[in-house]
Symmetry: C3
C-alpha cells in the first residue's frame, strides 16, 4: 500500500474549534446509550463529526472512535442539529439546556413502551420544553441494531414530522445520507401517530383474525353436535376421537371457502353500489371501506386454512390403516365425479398459492396495476369458482337425500356454499356485457346525473376491484 493514502478522514479525531474542512458537518447526540452510540458510529462512518452530550461526560462508557463527549450545554452550542437519544422520562434536563438549544433542530427519536402512556406525544412534549427549538420527530422506526448492522436488509423506512420545513429538510438530508428512505408525515401533530408505528401489532389483521376465529368456533361446535353428539345420542357410538383430525378437516375447508368469498364480496357490492348510484364520486359507507382494506388479510387467512386442509387430507391414508378391502366396482360416472372433485380442489389450491405469492410485497411491487388487478380479480374469482365447484362436487347427490339432514340441520359444507354462490352469481351479472359497459363508464368518471358543463374529467386512479 502506498504511503500517499490519506488518513481515514471519517474516523479521525479533529480538534473541535480549529479550522475543519467546511463540508464535514457536526452533529450533536444527547445520550450515550445503545441507540446514541450506534447512531453516532453510523454518522462518523458517513463522514459527519459527532459530539456527545452527557450528564457525566467522564464516565459514560465506551463511545465510537472519533467522537467527543462533553456536557449537554457545551455540546448543544457546537452543532445545528441535536439528536435526543434519551428516554422521555428523563427529558426534564432539557429545560435547563433550552437557552443553548434556541434555533437548533432538535430530533426526537424516542419510543414509548406502550400506547397511550402520556397525553401528548414525546415530540410535542419536547417542543413544549424547548419552545425556541424546531423539534422534528424521526428515526424512531430504526433500531440501534439496524444502525450497527449496516441496514442492508433491515428496516430503512424513516417517518418524519415537524412544524419547521427547514428543520425537516435538514433531518431529511441527514437521513438520506445515512442510507435511509424518508417519508414526510406532515406537522408535529402527527408525531403521536409516528410514535405508535413501532408499537402496533398487526392492526389490519385484527378484524380478519376475529372473523376467522368466530367462524372456526361456530362450525366446530356445529359439527361436534351434528357428528359426535348425534352419533353418541342416536347411534350410541363414541367417536369423540374424530374431533382432532376428521372434524378439523371439515372445519378448515369450510372456513377457508367462506373467508375467500368474503374477500371478493365487498368488491362486488361496491360495483353494484356504483351502478345503483350512477357515479363513483360518492364515498362508500365506512364499513365497506374498512372491509375492502382488509381483503388481502382475509385472502391470506383463507389460504392458511386451505393449506391446513390440504395437509390434513393428504394425511388420511397414513392415519389408522383400517382400509377394509373395498374392491368397489367403479362405474365411470363415479370415477369422473371423484376425479373432477379432486382436480378442482388441486387446481383451486394451486391458484390459491399463486394468489398468496402475488401478495408478497416484493412480488406485488414488481407488478403493474393492470397485472396486479388481473391476478387478484380474474384469477381470484377463478380460484373461488374452482373451490366452490370442489365443494359442490363433494356434496354431489347428497343435497337431495333426506339422511343428510340429521336433526333437520344441513351439513357444514352446504352452509358454507351460500356466500360463495352469491358472490359468483353477482360477479356473473357484473361481467355481462351490458352491465360491464355502464360500470366501465362510471369508473372512468362518467356520471348518470352529473352536471353537463364539466369538461375537465378527472383521471381514474387505478381503481382495483
Amino acid at each position: 500500500m502506498s504511503a500517499e493514502v490519506k488518513p481515514d478522514a471519517g474516523m479521525s479525531l479533529c480538534p473541535l474549534g480549529t479550522e475543519t474542512p467546511p463540508e464535514r458537518e457536526l452533529v450533536c447526540i444527547f445520550g450515550t446509550g445503545d441507540l446514541g452510540r450506534s447512531l453516532g458510529q453510523r454518522l462518523l462512518q458517513t463522514g459527519y463529526r459527532v459530539v456527545y452530550g452527557s450528564r457525566r461526560p467522564h464516565s459514560c462508557g465506551p463511545l465510537p472512535q472519533g467522537a467527543q463527549v462533553m456536557s449537554h450545554t457545551e455540546a448543544a452550542q457546537l452543532a445545528a442539529v441535536v439528536i435526543v437519544c434519551v428516554h422521555r422520562e428523563h427529558y426534564d434536563f432539557m429545560e435547563a439546556t433550552a437557552p443553548q438549544l434556541k434555533g437548533k433542530v432538535l430530533v426526537d427519536v424516542s419510543n414509548n413502551s406502550k400506547k397511550g402512556l402520556y397525553p401528548e406525544s414525546n415530540a410535542e412534549y419536547l417542543q413544549s420544553l424547548v419552545p425556541a427549538a424546531s423539534v422534528v420527530k424521526a428515526f424512531n422506526t430504526v433500531s440501534a441494531w439496524s444502525f450497527q448492522n449496516g441496514l442492508s436488509d433491515a428496516h430503512r423506512q424513516v417517518y418524519l414530522c415537524g412544524d419547521s420545513v427547514e428543520a425537516k429538510q435538514a433531518v431529511r438530508e441527514l437521513a438520506t445520507r445515512l442510507g435511509l428512505s424518508v417519508l414526510d408525515r406532515g406537522s408535529l401533530s402527527a408525531a403521536g401517530e409516528v410514535e405508535d408505528f413501532p408499537l402496533q401489532l398487526f392492526p389490519e389483521w385484527r378484524l380478519p383474525l376475529c372473523l376467522a376465529t368466530g367462524l372456526t368456533a361456530f362450525f366446530f361446535f356445529y359439527l361436534v353436535i351434528r357428528d359426535v353428539i348425534y352419533a353418541y345420542v342416536v347411534q350410541d357410538k363414541d367417536i369423540s376421537f374424530r374431533i382432532m383430525v376428521s372434524l378439523a378437516n371439515k372445519v378448515f375447508p369450510i372456513v377457508s371457502l367462506i373467508m375467500l368469498s368474503l374477500c371478493y364480496l365487498p368488491g362486488v357490492m361496491a360495483a353494484f353500489l356504483q351502478l345503483y348510484r350512477g357515479t363513483k364520486y360518492r364515498r362508500f359507507p365506512d364499513w365497506l371501506d374498512r372491509w375492502m382494506l382488509c381483503r388481502k388479510q382475509l385472502g391470506l387467512l383463507a389460504l392458511a386454512f386451505a393449506f391446513l386442509h390440504v395437509l390434513y387430507t393428504l394425511l388420511i391414508p397414513i392415519r389408522y390403516a383400517i382400509k377394509e378391502n373395498r374392491t368397489t366396482v367403479l362405474d365411470t360416472t363415479t370415477a369422473w365425479r371423484t376425479d373432477s372433485y379432486y382436480s378442482m380442489g388441486i387446481l383451486g389450491f394451486a391458484l390459491y398459492v399463486l394468489l398468496g405469492i402475488t401478495s408478497l410485497p416484493s412480488v406485488s411491487n414488481a407488478l403493474s396495476w393492470r397485472e396486479f388487478s388481473f391476478v387478484q380479480s380474474k384469477l381470484g374469482h377463478l380460484t373461488l369458482l374452482f373451490c366452490t365447484l370442489h365443494t359442490y362436487l363433494y356434496g354431489w347427490n347428497k343435497f337431495m337425500r333426506p339422511s343428510t339432514y340429521k336433526w333437520w340441520t344441513p351439513p357444514g359444507y352446504m352452509l358454507c356454499l351460500v356466500v360463495p354462490s352469491v358472490v359468483l352469481v353477482l360477479k356473473l351479472l357484473i361481467v355481462l356485457p351490458c352491465v360491464d359497459r355502464s360500470l366501465g363508464r362510471i369508473r372512468q368518471g362518467w356520471e348518470r346525473t352529473g352536471p353537463e358543463g364539466e369538461g375537465t374529467k378527472p383521471l381514474m386512479g387505478g381503481a382495483q376491484m
Copy 2:
C-alpha cells in the same frame, strides 16, 4: 402541551400573494379528480402549498384542506410546476392556457386505457399543444390509491422523461420529497414507453406461457391417443375417466421437466457459441437473447407444473381405494429402485422450491451476483439432474420391453427425456477442466483471434450463465 407549539405549517391556508416563507414552494394541479386530490393532499402533507386549476372553480367538490382553487389561467401563473391531472381527451383547453404556461414545467401524469390508441404519446401531444413549456412525463405508475394510503408498501417507482434537464431535475426533487423512487428514462420520446408501463400485462410471461400451453396440449393428445383410445380400440375398455387425474399427472411432470431443461439449454448453447467463436464480444443471435431473457419465467412455470405433479401424486392413495391385496414379496433391488425413484423426486422438488424462493425479487436482491449465479446455475443443474434421474428410474427396465411401445410410439416420459439428457451431457462437457479453462478465459475478455495491442481489457460485467 405548551402554547408555543407552532401552527401546523403544512396545513395552514396562507393567503396567496402575501409574503410567505420562501421555502414553501407552490405547486399547481390542473384537475380535481381522484388523482388530483390525492396528489394534492400528499403535497400539502409534505410541506408544499397547492393551488388547483379548474374549469369550474366554484363547484368542483371537496378538496384537501389548505388548498386553493381558481381558474386554470390564474392557477398557472402562480406556480413554476404545473401537474396536469386531466384525461388526454380534455387536453384541448391547454392551448388556451398556453401563454400563462410559458417557461413552466408541465408534468403529464396521464395514462391511456389501451395501448396504441393515439399516434403519439400523451406527453408529446401535450408538448405540441404548449410548445413554450417544458413537459415532463412522470407519476403515471403511481395511483391515487397509493398516494392516499401512504405508499408504505405500494408502488413507489416513478419513471421520468423529458427534454429539459432542469425541468426533470425539478420534478425529480418533488418526487423524492414525496417519498418516491425516481428512474430517469431519457428524453420525451421515451414517453410512449413510460405510458405503456401501467398497461402491460405480463409481456415477459407470454412466450413461456404459450410454450407451456403448447407442450401441455401436445402431450395431452398424445397420451389420450396412447392410453385412452388405445385401450378403447385394442382392449375395448372405457378408461376415459382417467383423463382428469391419471393423465393430468402424466402430462404435468413431462411438461415440467421439458420446461426446466429449456430453462438451462440456452445457457449451455451460449457457452458453446462463445467457445466456437473464441470471443465474448460478438452478440448472440436475437432468438438466443430473447430465450435467455425468459429463463426465469420458464423455470417458474416448470415449478408450477412440478407442484401440481406433487399434489396429484400425493392424492393417489386417497382416490378410489381399489387397492387389491398386493402382498408382493419385495426383492431388495425393486425396493432400492422405487425408493431411489421417490427420493430423487422429493429432493428434486425440494431444490425446485428453493430455486423458486430465490427467484422472489426480495430474496434475489439480497444475494450477491456470485451467490445468485451459484444458486441458479449449480443448484439449478442439480435439480435438473435429480428430476431427470427420477424419470429414468421411473422407466427403469421398460425401455427395452416391446410392450411399452404401443402402436410403435414411445411413452410420454421417454419423449420428455430427450431435451434434459442433451442439456446434461452438454453441461458435462462444459465443466470438463480443459473446456472450462478456455471458456473462463473467453469470459474474462480473452479473444482467440483478437488484436494483440489492446492492453486495456474491459471488465467482465457479472456474466451469469
Copy 3:
C-alpha cells in the same frame, strides 16, 4: 406530433468545447468493455454527456450513441469525474495519466475474480498510483447487465467509500441520479471489504450448513447401526433398502427439531446471562453473539428439513403397497393419541412455514419491530412446543419399554428431544411473572449494581429476542 418538440437532448452529440448548457455534466469513462459501455449508455440516458478514454480510440468497437472517444489523457482533462472501468491488471497505464487526473474524482468500479489475490484493495492501489486524485470505490456491486436492463428489479445497492467527503458527495449524486441506492461505508480503507461483497458466497450460511451436515451425518450413521446393522446381525434380515426413504425420514425430523431448538437456545441463554449479570450493558461472549447472528439461517434450514420430512411422510402410503389387512380394532385412547400426534405435526409445520414466510426480506421489512419479535419469538416458541409434543407423542409409551433400547442405545427421536426440552423449560422459567419483570427492567436499562447518579438513561434499541 408537433414540430416544436425539442430534439432528444440526452442523445445528441454536442461538439465538446463549445458552449454547452451548464447543467449537462460531462463524465469520463476509461475502458470500453461491457461495463464501460453499459454505464455510459445509462449516463447518457439520464442526461449526462459521456466521453470515453481508450488506448485505441479509433478501434474500440461500438459505443453508445452520443458518446465520444479519445485518448486517456485527452478524456481525463475534460471531466471532473473519471470512472475507471478497467481490470486492475491494466492499471499501470494510470501512472502515465496521473498529471491530467490531479484533483479529479477517480471512481474505481473493479472487482477481482477471487478473494485475497492482492495485498491491498484495488481502490487503494489506484490511489497509490494517482495520489493527487480522490479515489472513490463505487458501483462494483452493479453489473453491466443490470445497467442495461433498467435496474427495475435488479441489484440497486451501491456501496461507497473514499477519503474525500466532496468526492464521495459527487459520486453519491451521480449514483442517485442513475436510480441507485447509496450506502456510505466510510474511508478508502474499507474498500477491501466493499470489493469482497460480490465475491462472498453465503458467509452467514456456512456455520448453520456445517452444523446441519454434521448432525445429519451423525444421526444417519447412528440409525444405520441401530436399524440396519442391528437387523442384519441380530435378526439376520437385509433391510438395507430402507436407507433411502425410511431412514431419511427419521433423520430429517430429528435434525429439523434440533436445529429449531438451537435457533431459540441462544436467546434463552442471553436472557439468563443478563439476569445473572444484572445489566444489559456488558457484551455477550463472542460465540454467543455469532450464534445469535445465525439464528435466521438455523431456522430456515430447520424448515427445509421439516419440509422434506413432510414430503417423505406423505409418500409412505404410495410406496410399496404391502399394507397387509391390519383390521386393528381401534381403542379410543390410541385414536386420540395418533390423531393428536398428527395434528401437532401439521400445526407445527404450518407455523414453521409461517415463520419462514416472515423471514422473507420483503415481508420482514414490512413488519414493525414489535410485530417481528412477536412472530419470531412468540410463534417461534409455539412452533417448537408443537414439534416437541409431536415427537413426545410419537414416542408415547415406548420410553419405558426395554425393547426400545436396542444394544442399550436410545432411539434417535429420544436423543433429539434433549435440546428442545431444555429450551422449553428455560423459556418457561423466563416467562414466569417474577423473572419476566426483572428481565424487563434490565432490558429497559436498569442495572442491579449500576451507579445511582445517572439520570440520562439510554434508549432501548429494539432488542429482539
